[in-house]
């Protein structure tokens, strides 16, 4: 917690500058969460609490909004977030083989993180790089024209801690055919062997342990915001505020 307080103090000027860009402070919600996530690696409960205080919103509102967006990870993710495109154009160019290869090499599936915390893997929708299919993003940096060899090199470099993101030159496209695979469907149930103890990064999937902790925080938060809500209501709907008073 002290670590987080230090981070929050450090980012305070930046946060204030972001909020000042907008006519209404709430607009700064996404940029602020982006900012904290860039520093912490994920949108932590502390970060959401800090954002809720800065914007004078209840934690529940912040939580609800953040949960809408798939790029906000509400749990720690691996050092390398591997997001492979499963869009139509990539699929036509063999993305299913690429995805199967990734799963095989990593030992994890969609929305899972390896036990050592090095890799998170997600199959994402069209990344707008269909001309360079099949494509993916590593921590939101593009990699194009994937082949098993490239994946091998990439994973080896990552494991050795030597992976660098370099812009790739436009190359001719390796020939690929459409192949039929039956293992496409995202596993909703059991976890893959490589991801036993890790929770999914951005899919809370109902009330698991983290969800209950979050719910608890939201419920215990009531006193802090009650007054403000009433004040706000008095500005907008004075009659209703009076009615509640009575």
């Amino acid at each position: 917690m002290t670590d987080f307080n230090a981070l929050r103090d450090q980012l305070k000027p930046q946060c204030e500058a972001i909020i000042a860009q907008y006519e209404q402070p709430r607009s700064a919600l996404l940029p602020l969460v982006h900012l904290f996530q860039a520093h912490e690696g994920y949108a932590s409960a502390d970060a959401l609490r800090a954002v809720s205080e800065m914007l004078d919103l209840s934690l529940a509102v912040v939580e609800s909004t953040v949960s809408f967006y798939t790029l906000f990870y509400r749990k720690p993710v691996g050092k390398y977030m591997l997001q492979v495109c499963r869009g139509l154009a990539c699929t036509l160019n063999g993305a299913e083989d690429i995805m199967a290869y990734f799963r095989e090499q990593l030992g994890i599936g969609h929305l899972e993180t390896t036990g050592d915390g090095l890799f998170s893997y997600e199959e994402v929708e069209c990344l707008a790089a269909c001309d360079r299919a099949t494509c993916m993003q590593v921590n939101l940096n593009f990699a194009y024209d994937l082949t098993p060899k490239m994946i091998d090199d990439m994973l080896t470099a990552m494991r050795a801690g030597k992976y660098e993101i370099t812009p790739l030159p436009q190359t001719e496209h390796p020939p690929r055919t459409w192949t039929l695979r039956q293992d496409l469907q995202v596993s909703h149930g059991d976890k893959s062997a490589g991801a036993q103890d890790q929770s999914a990064p951005n899919n809370p999937g109902g009330l698991d342990r983290d969800g209950i902790i979050m719910l608890d925080r939201i419920l215990s938060d009531e006193a802090r915001f009650k007054g403000r809500t009433k004040e706000r209501l008095a500005n907008v709907e004075p009659a209703m505020a009076e009615a509640i008073e009575e």
């Binding site: 709430r26 996404l30 699929t91």
Partner: protein
Amino acid sequence: MPVVKVLTEGIGEANLRDIKVYRDRGGYKQLKRAFTEMKPADVQAICDKSGLRGRGGAGFPTGKKWAFLPAGVAPRYLVCNCDEAEPGTFKDRMLLEETPHQIIEGILLGAYAIESHHAFIYIRGEFKRGYEVFMDALAQARKAGFVGKNLFGSGFDLELTVHRGAGAYICGEETALLNSLEGKRGEPRLRPPFPAVQGLYSKPTIVNNVETLAYLIPILERGPEWFAAVGTERSKGYKIISISGHVQKPGNYEVALGTPVRKLIELAGGLRPGRKLMAIQPGGGSSACIFEEHLDMPYDYESLQKAGTMLGSGAIVVMDDTTDFVRAAFNLVRFFAHESCGQCTPCREGGHWLERVLHRFLENRGLKSDIEMLARVSHEITGINLCPLGDSIEPFLASVLKRFPEQFEARVARETVRA
């Protein structure tokens, strides 16, 4: 050669991310001209006269959209939509990463035309490099005095704020985008009121696509007649077409609207040797397929509409005879099911059920009655949602169901075992 270089001029040759290079090639001249020599209404009139239509997907005439703004109401906002996520589209990302100054100039021109003093650009969260490139370009433009107070001594203040999305296809829909910009969940709003009347912070707001705004620059430079001279009667000017799928040279090609589809596929290197064309999705993931017999059709808004599909964002996905259309249909239905915001029941539930039924086909466990049900359910969830996402499920699915029923029938379970 049907390929033209208007917005794509210089891409791949010069470093247009550098404001010096951009200005040497004539950049920001039109902006200065507009601010010093023209009134906002003049810019509006030129845009209206050019016949420019929205390049994001809906194809609504831009001048007409601007005219919906109630007169004399301030503040008003311009929002540039760079949340490109329609499957198969990759033109905005190219413009963002390669010519960010063109986008800035386009936004500033658009904002001036509608007398907005605060413009926004909403950049898709995944476009990290694009965001960084744009922020850098914006800092350069600000330093050069193109953004901020009293631009070119005209007394007109104009601020430009960059807002990053966070991974939601639906935020490309304009009202969902506005909600997201307000720091809310990206759920579309009920219309009316339209954003032009009540948009961002309930103030009059115009949402325009990146490409639409960027075209304002050449239109001002060369005159509306130049733009209106090409294209067809109601589809004027040029458009960047993203071609991908089973072609040899996928990429962005800028052409005049009305270019025959066959020509476009030739531009993209044609099919791979020995392959046969099966289907073309002409306007992004939300459009119905066209087939071999449509190859000589001009690629414009009206012709595609007449053929039962749409031009959309100008994304062509070509599919040859190696394509498994059951899998392709599953892929797109899963996309829309995944990206549904969940507000409207038909879209939320319908999408997921269609996905499950199609998955059954993939496992060769389809039922004979499913084929008819897929057509019926996808049709019934259409037209009864707040936004066009729910309506986007039907076109592709229905067109391939009709054209390739044998591919679906082949996946019907041979024997139905009853417990």
